[in-house]
Amino acid sequence: MDLGLEKLRNMVLDMAELSQNTVSTAIDAYVQGRDLRDRIFGWSEELRMLQDEVSELAVEIIARYQPVASDLRFIKSSMEVAYGFSRFGRYAHDISDVIGIFGDLSSCDRQAIQQAGAQAKDMIRMSIKAFTERDVELAGRLKKMDDVVDGLYLDFVRKSAHEPEANLKCVVSGTLILRYLERIADHATYVGDTVPYIVSGERAARK
């Protein structure tokens, strides 16, 4: 079983790295106004397939060895985390799609998106580090960061709702991207939630 667990761990870490790159590339492409849809779509598909492989291996380990205790908690968490990473890929793809649909967005105010994007990137990096190093304290910091991204998204929507002169293209594209970033931040928080569970069996209270 130890070999299986090692393989599972490596697969999850591969996914972590790829999903982090995918989201970063999507956010940077937006900021630079580049259309990288095809490349990002390829990565997000790859993440989806990797997630299936993680699930298959996890089920195989459970069926063969009936793991218990920390092994069981790690396997369950690996499946959850792999799902989170595949969602990162999916939202990165959605972000890159926005450029494809709306074209040049350089005239829009992109401050909130850049801020939320930087925050989401940080959260992904931290959630992976917390998961890899089983760092409960680091994982715990994600919740507060998630609130910041939530705030940026809601503020943008509220402000747009009360601004009759707003540029429709900027408002819709901005809302979509902020929404995707908000989802990414949620999933990063869920990745972090697995850490205390793996370490001590403590289940996170979800909002």
Partner: protein
């Protein structure tokens, strides 16, 4: 305070100079299955053999502390160990039907020993016990056959029927499936789930997965000491003690 059907208090047991159990305080609830797990030699069999006063049958064996059955110490002066063993039955690793007896007589033996002679009463008790042991349908036409002519799994269920015939309150099982194939094991496990509706069940097993499948509570013993005791799901998902974690995940020694 919580009510336990069987409760040990500072139970210690020895074989000669070998101190096999150390200060075990453990409560077993009525209508629940309690599993006792631990590596070979940890004292799990000794522990259940103390619960119906079978430990003292081994030459040189002795124990201190108390075992409460419905709150009364079964080691008090004046308590008849035979009565204790009738109230608390035992099933062993190797099925041990009386070799010269028929299926019927095996089940009726305990009752006859207790002076029951009425044929109708005996018939009724034999049928009821075999039904409760999930064996009736398989042997109802062969009650006169020798008990030892049955398959291993059937013999084990015959022994369970024999134990049930004297209307015990608790059933102790010492590795009841370790000599059985997976199908026979599954039958016994199903039976255990059913038995707990009427009885208190305590099972010793070195098969952790079996403990996880059949029990409501699990106790982990190591070197004669109770390391951890708790609800089975929580003990297997999230053991509190490092030693339990290492044993369950096979990282021992």
């Amino acid at each position: 305070m919580e009510e336990f059907k069987i409760q040990t208090e500072k139970l210690n047991a020895w074989f000669g100079n070998n101190h096999a159990l150390r200060d075990i305080s453990l409560g077993m609830r009525e209508n629940e299955v309690t599993a006792i797990i631990g590596p070979s030699g940890c004292g799990k069999s000794t522990l259940i053999r103390c619960l119906n006063r079978m430990h003292e049958l081994v030459p040189g064996a002795r124990s201190t502390g108390s075992v409460l059955l419905d709150g009364a110490n079964i080691y008090s002066k004046g308590i008849d160990p035979v009565t204790v063993r009738r109230r608390v039955g035992m099933i062993f690793q190797k099925a041990n039907p009386f070799p010269t007896m028929s299926v019927y007589d095996n089940v009726a033996a305990g009752l006859k020993l207790n002076g029951v002679r009425n044929r109708d009463l005996l018939d009724e008790a034999v049928k009821r016990s075999l039904e409760r042991a999930f064996l009736w349908d398989e042997v109802k036409d062969d009650l006169d056959k020798s008990g030892t002519s049955l398959s291993g799994g059937q013999q084990q269920r015959l022994c369970i029927a024999r134990a049930l015939a004297v209307e015990p309150e608790a059933i102790l099982m010492d590795e009841p499936c370790s000599a059985l194939d997976p199908i026979a094991t599954a039958k016994i496990e199903e039976l255990i789930a059913n038995l707990k509706e009427k009885y208190t069940v305590v099972i010793v097993t070195h098969n952790m997965q079996q403990a996880a499948r059949v029990s409501d509570f699990t106790a982990f013993l190591y070197l004669g000491q109770l390391v951890e005791y708790g609800g089975t799901t929580s003990l297997f998902e999230n053991p509190k003690e490092e030693l339990t974690e290492r044993y369950l995940t096979g990282k021992f020694g």
